[in-house]
Structures are given as structure tokens and as C-alpha cells.
Symmetry: C2
Subunit: 131 residues, 2 copies
């Protein structure tokens, strides 16, 4: 399957690159529609899936049942706020050593892990102080 260029795909990728949070498909759809008023939701989903398959973006699943997308494909961890649901990047070292820990007593092969942290985000922490 040879890729052909598409303005819609560019717009989706570009929008994702401007965001440090991790929008859902629906957020991408709403935003990109400002530039392409009749882009279809299917196009957004198809391109988000395509872009993640070719490694230009990452699909993030944090247990809320909705996929989030991230233009930062470097290996990093995410934080999910249990109060407001926002998904943030964490600046921390790689935890590859935990693969060894998990593999020690396991008969199969462990090739990686998915970890996300949860708690109260900076904004919600501030709000809590005065309530």
C-alpha cells in the first residue's frame, strides 16, 4: 500500500504536534473541522490509526475507554488525573528494569510494559488546598 499525500492527514498530524495534552479522536475532529469543515469522523479515525501504524504518533490507552493520541513518539510515561481525567506527560527515567523483575519468575517472554500513573494533577491539587 503506497501512501498518497493528503491535506487532511497533514492537518491532523500538525494539530497533534501543537498539543502537549493528549487529545481524543473527537477533540481532533472538532479542531480540524475548523480548517476542513466537512472532514468526516471516519477520516480522522482512519488517519489516526494509519499514523500510529507507521509510527508517527502513539495511541494511548489509559483505562477510560477512550483512545488518546500523542505526537510525541519517544518513550515516556503518562499520568492520569483521577479528578479531571486529564492525561499529562511525566519526565522520568525509563523503567526497563521492571521487565527483568517481571520476567524472573515467568515462563514466557516479556518484551515490554505499559505503565501509567494516577493521582491528582497540579491544577486539581491547587483547587483541593482551598476547599
Amino acid at each position: 500500500m503506497i501512501l498518497k499525500h493528503s491535506k487532511q492527514r497533514d492537518a491532523i498530524k500538525n494539530f497533534l504536534m501543537t498539543r502537549k495534552d493528549h487529545p481524543t479522536a473527537d477533540v481532533v475532529y472538532t479542531k480540524v473541522r475548523e480548517e476542513f469543515p466537512n472532514i468526516s469522523l471516519g477520516t480522522v479515525y482512519r488517519n489516526l490509526t494509519l499514523l500510529s501504524e507507521i509510527g508517527e504518533i502513539t495511541r494511548i490507552r489509559v483505562g477510560d475507554g477512550i483512545d488518546h493520541f500523542d505526537a510525541d513518539v519517544s518513550s515516556h510515561y503518562h499520568f492520569v488525573c483521577t479528578h479531571c481525567g486529564s492525561v499529562l506527560d511525566l519526565d522520568m527515567e525509563s523503567l526497563s528494569h521492571i521487565n527483568e523483575i517481571a520476567g524472573a519468575g515467568f515462563d514466557g517472554k516479556i518484551t515490554g510494559h505499559i505503565t501509567y500513573f494516577y493521582g491528582t494533577c497540579p491544577d486539581c491539587t491547587k483547587l483541593e488546598q482551598y476547599s
Copy 2:
């Protein structure tokens, strides 16, 4: 809300306790229907949700978009096979130290983490050797 006893709920809990893998709601439904032929899927979902809310079972989300359930509520980690999709328990120490690592450069509060490991399960590893 005072809990009332229900045979259906008992059957769901009992079935989960017999399983070391982590069935989905649909698997529970299919199995419990052998004993209660006209139990409804809604009843299965309602009870799985209720049981997890009162801490008698755990809801596991491993990124396949389908909820799995576990009668073992003790803190432990899970492994997901990228070949066959099976979800297995891992016998390993707690990784609570990674909360500190994540919290070091973070402005909010970290109260926990979700981690699952992926790779090739023992069964699929055996199959690979002869293919």
C-alpha cells in the same frame, strides 16, 4: 443501598473464583447461563460492576478495549500475550518504588500506578520453537 442476596450474583462470583485466567463479561455470561439459562447480560454487567465496587473482584483493563475480571483482589501484576491475547498473573514483588520515581519531577500527587507487561506467553513460546 442495602445489598440483598442473589443467586445470580453468587454464581458469577463463584465462577470467577474457579478461574485463574481473567474472563470477560461475555465469557462469564456464557458460563453462568449453563446454570441460569435466562440470566440477562445486563445482570452480569451490573453484578460485575457491583462486585468490583465493593471490592470483591477487580476490573482489569489491558488495552484491548474489553474489560476482564479477576476474583483475586490482592495486589498483583498482569501479563498480556501479544499473540493469543490471554491475560495471566505474574508472581512478582510490588513496584511501589516507581511511584517515587514518577513523583520526583512532578508537581501533582501520585497515588498509584497501573502496569501490565506484554510479550509471548508460555504456550505461544512453545509453539514458536517449532514454527
